[in-house]
């Protein structure tokens, strides 16, 4: 099953998004990677790497971000893990996480899920 890492400047926000996805898509590999190690606001390269490593399978992982440095840091993680199937979603964070995890639970592939998520912005 495709996995998800929710990246936010805020630990609470990332965890909240994960919680919301569990309402409709329990059982999807998903991790929150929000805030810095000391709990303050920011994006942590190490947290994102750890989250990806925890849930990664050959089905791949979709990274979801809130804004700005979350996107840039996610891109650097993907560059460092170039042997892994990782894609950065470009869609609203909460709606995308909910839609994406529902798609994953139904068995869709990473490519199919990204296609679905790209429709959310329209």
């Amino acid at each position: 099953m495709v996995g998800f890492v929710v990246i936010s400047h805020s630990a609470k926000l990332a965890e909240g998004v994960v919680d919301v996805t569990r309402m409709m898509a329990d059982g999807v590999p998903i991790r929150a990677a929000g805030g810095l190690e000391d709990g303050s606001f920011g994006t942590s390269y190490d947290k994102i790497c750890a989250a990806v490593s925890e849930i990664y399978t050959d089905d791949g992982v979709i990274l979801m971000t809130d804004m700005g440095s979350a996107i840039m840091t996610a891109e650097m993680v993907m560059e460092a893990m170039e042997d892994k199937k990782l894609v950065l979603a470009d869609c609203p964070l909460v709606e995308g996480a909910v839609a994406g995890t529902v798609c994953a639970v139904s068995g869709m592939s990473l490519e199919e899920i990204i296609e679905e998520l790209s429709d959310l912005k329209k």
């Binding site: 810095l36 994006t43 942590s44 700005g68 840039m72 650097m76």
Partner: protein, 207 residues
């Protein structure tokens, strides 16, 4: 121009300057951003300073790449990926070198700028660190080409970077947090342009 230990001295000096300017940079960022640039950069360079003592026997490329990775992992804000990429790209150009000349420095500076542009999907005129970095690079290339004098080239670079900082006051931000406040960013300098210029000055004092 310098060798491994000279470079380490320059990086430590840059870090000390950032620590000194931490509150000033944070105040700047408070006005147009999320108020953490100085704190973030100081945290990043504190981690860099601790790492540097373990890198004395490494080549210059490795030193710079390690600085870059350390910044990405510790800064926490946008300047982490941006400066992180800058140092990593500079390090790639200087791979295997134990000494560098001015021409090496300028090539690495070029790569750093391209790295920031790629990472930030940005260019000059958007009120970012590039508005200090690019004029500095252009002035240094010109001055060094004309005089062959390293110190003169750095002086020209610093003057151009300071001009870049002043220029950022006159434009609206189209990148980063400040882009969300639109016209209210007018009249304020960009913190990234300022932190870059502080670092350039600190490095030039070690020449």
């Amino acid at each position: 121009m310098t060798d491994q230990s000279g470079l380490i001295g320059m990086l430590l000096a840059a870090g000390e300057e950032i620590e000194k300017q931490k509150l000033y940079l944070t105040e700047l960022d408070n006005v147009t951003g999320d108020g953490d640039h100085g704190i973030n950069m100081a945290r990043g360079f504190d981690a860099v300073s601790k790492k540097l003592s373990t890198l004395e026997d490494k080549d210059i490329g490795t030193i710079l790449k390690t600085v870059g990775m350390t910044l990405v992992s510790t800064v926490g804000g946008a300047s982490g990926p941006l400066y992180g990429t800058a140092f990593m790209q500079a390090g790639k150009v200087l791979s295997g070198k134990n000494e560098i000349e001015m021409t090496d420095f300028l090539a690495a500076f070029d790569a750093a700028i391209e790295g920031v542009k790629m990472r930030g999907k940005s260019t000059v005129g958007e009120k970012t660190m590039l508005d200090a970095m690019v004029p500095a690079r252009d002035a240094m290339v010109k001055a060094y080409g004309e005089t062959g004098d390293v110190k003169a080239a750095f002086a020209a670079g610093i003057e151009a970077a300071e001009g870049g900082i002043e220029y950022t006051k006159t434009i609206i931000a189209t990148k980063g947090r400040a882009s969300y406040i639109g016209e209210r960013s007018l009249g304020h300098t960009d913190p990234g342009a300022e932190s870059f210029t502080f670092m350039l000055k600190a490095v030039s004092e070690r020449l």
